[in-house]
């Protein structure tokens, strides 16, 4: 409605300044990873192993299949952005295969071969999968309960003086304790060892959620409350519809930190007489110095953790769509 606002409409249009700009890449790059993986396959297949390793042929086939898939991807133009990574991964696998399976140049038993790792997935996938499910279950229950309780506690700390008076010292006393130190206490206080594990998980994820929710709410511009109050808003609206959404960016930082803490706690909680779990599996593998199993469990764990963090960031991007820009996972 007025000329002075034109620059502002502009701003809406330029939210992604680099959208639509295509960078020219050398056309050869997408064709690189396929041959690298095929070379891996050839080396694995033809060069004799330095010792008796399992599944060498299968590994070579896997390399070859990957190479062909990558060539197809290059031909159909799908492979562009990921080509450098695919090349690097292929080279890495090749170097590892040569260094360990063919030349045995890395200290054993700490470094296995790619085929050792593959063998673990083939022979032990059932136990690994079972462990993953158990860990996920433990994590999901403890983390969800802990995060919700943490956010509720944070809201209480931020909005109620009386709650803060009673809760703050408790939080200060318990929150920073290393989880291992709480293990015996949780075990003594809570009648079931499964529940004790879950409680520790909840505590680990709840503490950062509570602190950051509180700090987010404490940082809310008081004018936001005044705006709603002059329109007749009551405490419930001020808390749930003003304080909570305003603190949401901080809350997500807390949820992120809590997720990290609960990954660490998972290993501890799985010391409490569980029958399966990735932490349990890793402890067992370490006790037997079964390094390939340990690495396999590490890979599964890393995939699980990064997958869960991705989920959390998706949720955050959806809820915090109003934010100008945030960290991407």
């Amino acid at each position: 409605m007025s000329g002075t606002d034109i620059s502002l409409t502009d701003r809406i249009g330029t939210r992604h300044p680099d959208a639509g700009v295509t960078r020219r890449r050398p056309a050869i790059l997408p064709w690189l990873p396929g041959p690298v993986w095929l070379a891996d396959a050839l080396v694995t297949w033809r060069w004799p192993d330095a010792d008796d390793f399992p599944d060498t042929t299968l590994l070579a086939i896997l390399f070859a299949v990957t190479g062909i898939a990558l060539l197809t991807a290059a031909a159909t133009g799908v492979l562009t952005k990921r080509a450098p990574w695919a090349t690097a991964l292929g080279s890495g696998f090749g170097a590892w295969e040569i260094a360990q399976a063919k030349l045995l140049s890395l200290p054993r038993p700490f470094f296995g071969t790619p085929q050792d790792l593959l063998d673990v997935f083939i022979t032990d996938w059932h136990r690994l999968g079972d462990s993953l499910l158990h860990s996920l279950g433990l994590l999901a229950a403890g983390y969800t309960v802990g995060s919700l309780a943490g956010i509720a506690t944070g809201i209480g700390l931020g909005r109620s003086k009386r709650f803060r008076y009673w809760m703050h010292p408790v939080l200060r006393a318990i929150g920073p304790l290393p989880p291992v130190a709480l293990l015996p206490l949780a075990f003594v206080l809570i009648p079931s060892s499964w529940l004790a594990g879950e409680a520790l998980m909840a505590l680990a994820s709840g503490f950062p959620a509570a602190i950051l929710t509180w700090s987010g709410i404490a940082a809310v511009d008081p004018a936001y409350y005044d705006v709603a109050r002059t329109m007749g808003a009551r405490e419930r609206f001020l808390t749930l519809r003003v304080a909570l959404p305003a603190a949401m960016p901080q809350i997500f930082v807390g949820l992120f930190m809590g997720l990290g803490a609960s990954f660490a706690m998972l290993i501890i909680a799985e010391m409490l007489g569980v029958k399966a779990g990735l932490g349990f599996y890793m402890q067992w593998a370490q006790g037997w110095a079964a390094y390939p199993n340990m690495y396999a469990a590490l890979i599964v764990m890393s995939l699980m953790c990064t997958g869960l963090i991705t989920l959390l960031f998706r949720l955050r991007d959806r809820i915090l769509v109003w934010q100008k820009d945030g960290l991407k996972w």
Binding site: L183, P184, L272, G273, Q286, G287, A289, A290
Partner: protein, 350 residues
């Protein structure tokens, strides 16, 4: 007990260690002053200190286990000094499998550890040689005093708590259950809890029996009124090595004199310990303040510290263990236990 001790001494003698026959016979009261020479390890020859400046070595150990009290004793009573060794300790409280990693990556030169802990991981090819058996007996399987469980066969269908799901407690009592006619995988289940929480898990019914070692077990037995239904101080296992000495492979190859000196000092300390459990308890008390020195002394007396093995008889013990582990499925059925025992052991005193 005495006959066992004699038997184990004879094992040593039988292994070709001649000239110190007097060692094999010792009176029941091991601490009487007049028999001090009997409290030396049965390794032939004079102690010849290493030449030059004191050789610095690093010993890794787990100071949560009273059964390796020989390690602090060896320093405290001057056994290392006799060999011109200047020893540093690194403690790996908790899991003894880290000791193997510490030795094979050069962070330590030697360490005492339990045979049943090390035999499975050693299969992976650590550069560590087992050189001697330090003593016998230090594992317990306990139930509440009022429990209906009286013997191993009563454990059918029960859950046993252990500190570590792949640890020596599980390995040893799997072997014992197998001997008693049970399948250690399907007739019982195993669950891991932190050592100090095992009695609580027992009280709340998560487990029906627990297994761990001293000094924790000793204290727990008293505090929670537990009763042993089995230990590795009965039957043939009473005179089979429980803890062994592992030495870095490159040390054995390049500086066998140093490897010998370390081994002999620890074995000397172990033999001294067997004859002086009270004083040894006082020395170990520094590492285990929860247990009184008297209790520690009593624990040491109860354990098989007069049992030491070397060379052939030691290798036979390792093969026996490997065979037993094969029977409970920890080694595959085609596993050549004799070859394995030769591979992981080393004769230092021939």
């Amino acid at each position: 007990m005495i006959s066992h001790r004699l038997a184990s001494r004879r094992t040593l003698l039988g292994a070709g260690l001649s000239g110190v026959a007097a060692l094999a016979i010792r009176p029941a009261s091991g601490q009487s002053a007049g028999h001090e020479e009997m409290c030396h390890a049965a390794i032939p020859g004079e102690v010849r200190p290493l030449p030059g400046a004191p050789r610095k070595v690093t010993i890794a150990w787990n100071e949560n286990s009273v059964c390796v009290a020989a390690v602090p004793v060896a320093k405290e009573k001057g056994f290392f000094a006799q060999h011109n060794l200047d020893v540093d300790y690194v403690n790996f409280g908790g899991s003894t499998d880290q000791l193997l990693e510490a030795i094979s990556t050069g962070k330590a030169d030697a360490a005492p550890g339990m045979a049943l802990r090390w035999l499975k991981p050693l299969q992976q090819g650590f550069d560590v040689k087992l050189v001697a058996g330090l003593h016998a007996g230090c594992l317990y399987l306990s139930v509440p005093a009022d429990s209906a469980i009286r013997q191993l066969t009563d454990l059918k269908g029960k859950t046993i708590g252990v500190p570590d799901i792949g640890g020596p407690e599980r390995n040893f009592f799997s072997i014992r259950l197998k001997e008693a006619g049970l399948d250690p995988e399907s007739d019982v289940s195993w669950r891991a809890f932190p050592t100090d929480l095992l009695p609580l898990a027992l009280q709340r019914g998560d487990i029906q029996a627990l297994s761990n070692s001293d000094p924790v077990n000793w204290l727990q037995k008293r505090q929670f009124s537990l009763r042993d239904i089995d230990t590795n101080m009965t039957g043939k296992w009473a005179h089979t090595t429980c803890c062994v000495i592992g030495v870095r492979g490159s040390l054995v190859r390049n500086e066998p004199d140093v490897a010998r000196a370390i081994t002999r000092a620890i074995l000397d300390a172990g033999a001294w310990l067997a004859c002086n459990p009270v004083e040894a308890g006082q020395i170990f008390h520094a590492y285990s303040p929860k247990a009184s020195a008297d209790d520690l002394g009593a624990m040491i007396r109860a354990q098989g510290h007069h049992h030491q093995t070397l060379t052939g008889s030691f290798r036979d013990e390792i093969a026996t263990y490997a065979e037993a582990l094969k029977n409970v499925g920890i080694f595959r059925p085609s596993f050549d236990t004799a070859r394995y025992a030769s591979r992981v052991t080393q004769d230092l005193f021939v």
